[in-house]
């Protein structure tokens, strides 16, 4: 155990810090969910990042990455959040689909999708959930029917109804879970990549509880997609999805830096407005939890770098970061008191006052998406502790 950065790691941090200082937009971009302009402004930022070589530092260089290890990824993220850089528009692509493509993709698929993803040219949405398949994802009913095309090759005809697909309102592509007609549960599933502007795809925005259109319903009506867009073997979609889910819950989706920066801001808010000792205890808890999460992820990263595999700790992580995020934002609203409900703060208020409310609304969803926390508790009890099903 050696909890010191090597000189090389420190030099890497300095390099990231310098680049961020020179490139991070001085004023926040308009948010990427509310308008097309906000979405495109974030796409531009993804392109800027990519030009600097920072699209996804852990990926192999031939796909637009830098081939760096997970400790350097953590350092990158720390500097990214420290600099207040814009949210990652393509997070479902780079953090979820990307690692799955690297594990399961054919060389052609990797060459076709990864560089465009790293460059921000293809922004991805995840199309797994359905009205009848939320926690019980193996209940998906949307189908992929294999047919011959005019050129003698194979296509899939996709049809069905997907829901809650984040950023699908403006995204370019989606990775969806479909089943062979007649198959049941975990069998017969395939993960298929499809453009959201393909004929037969209808995208209908869904507003979250404050009215922001953060996700969409997708209606697929005989959408024809080449079989070459299937990721992993036919019928192996469940295993492929679980690999994505492992990264989603356990490691990449929520890097510790995000919570450490939020906890530091919470401490500032406490300094300005704190008088209730009970809230002081909550502030300390939030700061300590962010620290504990960071340490735990460093431990996981070290283990993975030494050849370990990600295991059921993905479930403990998912519960911990989502509850930490919610607790942190609830505390912030309590500190803001009667001002907390104001969507733009009082006249002359600094922007961060309103940001806490937006962050709070978002944090409400953490215990639900990426596998609801009750499901994670079942997984911990059954797979980590070995309790009977």
């Amino acid at each position: 155990m050696d909890l010191r950065y090597t000189p090389q790691e420190q030099a890497f941090r300095a390099e990231v810090r310098q680049w961020m200082a020179a490139h991070v937009p001085p004023a926040p971009l308009p948010d990427f969910d509310s308008t097309r302009e906000g979405f495109e402004a974030h796409r531009e930022w993804e392109r800027t990042l990519h030009k600097g070589g920072w699209g996804m530092v852990t990926w192999p260089t031939e796909y637009g990455g830098r081939g760096l290890d997970l400790i350097r990824w953590l350092i990158f993220e720390e500097e990214y959040y420290r600099a207040g850089a814009p949210g990652r528009l393509n997070q479902n692509g780079i953090f979820l689909l990307g690692p799955t493509l690297i594990e399961y993709g054919t060389p052609e698929q990797k060459a076709r999708f990864l560089p465009a993803m790293a460059a921000g040219d293809q922004i991805w949405a995840q199309a797994w959930s359905e009205p009848g398949a939320g926690s019980d994802l193996a209940g998906v009913r949307a189908t992929a029917t294999r047919v011959k095309n005019a050129g003698g090759g194979d296509d899939y005809i996709l049809s069905g109804h997907k829901i809650w697909s984040s950023r699908a309102v403006h995204a370019d592509w989606a990775f969806g879970l479909f089943r062979e007609p007649g198959s049941e549960r975990h069998k017969g599933l395939s993960l298929i990549l499809f453009p959201l502007n393909a004929p037969g795809v209808t995208v209908k925005p869904i507003q979250r509880l404050d009215g922001k259109p953060v996700f969409a319903e997708l209606f697929l009506d005989d959408v024809r997609i080449p079989a070459a867009n299937r990721l992993g073997d036919e019928g192996q979609g469940w295993a492929v999805c679980m690999s994505t889910a492992g990264f989603e819950r356990g490691l990449m989706l929520r890097s510790p830096a995000r919570f450490q920066v939020a906890a530091a801001k919470l401490v500032e808010l406490w300094k300005e407005r704190g008088s209730d000792p009970l809230l002081g205890a909550e502030v300390m808890q939030a700061w300590m939890d962010a620290d504990a999460y960071a340490l735990s992820i460093y431990a996981t990263a070290s283990r993975l770098m030494a050849g370990g595999a990600i295991g059921p700790e993905t479930s403990t992580n998912k519960i911990f970061w989502s509850e930490l995020d919610l607790g942190l934002h609830k505390t912030a609203l309590s500190l803001l008191g009667a001002e907390a409900e104001l969507t733009a703060g009082l006249p002359g208020a600094a922007a961060p006052v309103a940001d806490w409310l937006d962050g709070y609304v978002f944090s409400l969803a953490g215990p639900i998406y990426a596998g609801a926390n009750e499901i994670q508790r079942n997984i911990i009890a059954e797979r980590m502790l070995g309790m009977p099903r």
């Binding site: 155990m1 909890l3 090597t6 735990s296 070290s302 009750e374 009890a381 070995g386 309790m387």
Partner: protein, 343 residues
């Protein structure tokens, strides 16, 4: 940067765990309790043979020259077994104090126990079986022979905690150090109490898993009920996020993370022992089960070596004054030398 234990560290932890699994069962604890003795001679003998008192002793004095990480692993194993003998305070607090003060270590490394009367604790644990005591007069640390003090026992609900008020008067020549030594002792005491709490929390969950697989109600093992599963899963989450804090604190004992570790481990042990009592039903409330040993130890250690309020005040002091942020995870002094330099 590498946040993994070495193979040697893993091996040490598993050897201590193995020894205690064999010699410190529930039946062993009850036998000791009935005998009224403070120490199980057979088990203590094996602990000495393994050289555990000298883990943190300098090599030139005959110790193993290992650090707080190794000691934290040992303390975790002691907590897991609810070990009655006061190995942790002796090896993890007293020996490093003597070493830092340049006192003679020979007896302490090979079996003569030293009890620690840190001002943060109102009473002194295991003073009766100690050969000598480290006691406070103001900021000063005095090393006093057992024969020089009079003890009054105060019963703890934990039958293996032997707590004493000490009556003594300092004599010239017993002073071995000052405030810095007590500060080091507090860090070690709190850190290794946290490690014990972590171990006993995991034991409470493990014991509960075994029980809930066996116990049948409504025609099924109670462990198949989701409400029961979620009690234990919640406790396990707290355990998972206390462990790395303890290890990181052990790697830099002078940092505020010691207080974080103590708070996180106390919360984990609290959650785990209470969940365990609940899922054991009336059996968890009875004298007959072994869970009581864990619950009582958790109650005691959670408040010893600084109460949660004490440690929260230290955390508050840090976050209100030190620069915070995502790049600050590892900027506490990385070693004891670093800590001394910083001081």
């Amino acid at each position: 940067m590498d946040f993994r234990l070495t193979d040697e560290q893993e091996m040490l932890a598993s050897e201590v765990a193995k020894l205690l699994a064999a010699t410190c069962t529930g039946a062993d604890l009850r036998r000791l309790l009935e005998s009224g003795e403070a120490i199980d001679r057979g088990r203590w003998g094996q602990i000495l043979v393994m050289g555990l008192p000298g883990v943190m002793g300098p090599e030139e004095a005959g110790g193993a020259g290992l650090g707080a990480v190794e000691m934290a692993l040992i303390a975790t194993a002691c907590g897991y077994a609810a070990l009655p003998e006061p190995l942790v305070e002796h090896a993890g607090v007293a020996v490093p104090m003597l070493a830092a003060a340049g006192a003679d270590l020979e007896k302490a490394l090979f079996g003569s126990r030293i009890a620690v009367g840190h001002p943060v604790n109102p009473l002194v644990a295991d003073a009766d079986s100690a050969a000598a005591l480290l006691l406070a007069v103001g900021d000063d640390v005095h090393l006093v022979q057992r024969a020089q003090v009079t003890l009054t026992r105060h019963d703890s609900i934990d039958p293996f905690r032997r707590l004493f008020a000490i009556d003594w008067s300092p004599t010239p020549g017993t002073r071995i150090g000052g405030a810095a030594l007590w500060a080091q002792a507090l860090d070690h005491g709190a850190l290794f109490a946290a490690a014990q709490l972590l171990g006993l929390a995991q034991r409470a969950v493990d014991m509960s898993v075994v029980y809930t697989k066996d116990r049948v109600q409504f025609g099924k093992p109670i462990g198949s009920f989701q409400a029961v599963k979620h009690h234990l899963a919640n406790a396990q989450v707290k355990i998972e996020f206390a462990r790395p804090v303890i290890l990181a604190a052990a790697a830099s004992p002078g940092s505020v993370r010691v207080s974080h570790a103590k708070l996180a481990a106390t919360a984990a042990a609290d959650a785990a022992t209470h969940a365990a009592v609940q899922v054991h039903g009336a059996m968890g409330f009875s004298w007959e089960g072994d869970l009581q040993f864990l619950l009582k130890r958790s109650l005691a250690l959670g408040q010893a070596w600084g109460t949660p309020a004490f440690h929260r005040a230290r955390v508050a002091g840090h976050i209100l004054s030190a620069p915070l942020g995502a790049d600050r995870t590892f900027d506490a002094p990385a070693s004891e030398e670093g800590r001394r330099e910083a001081a």
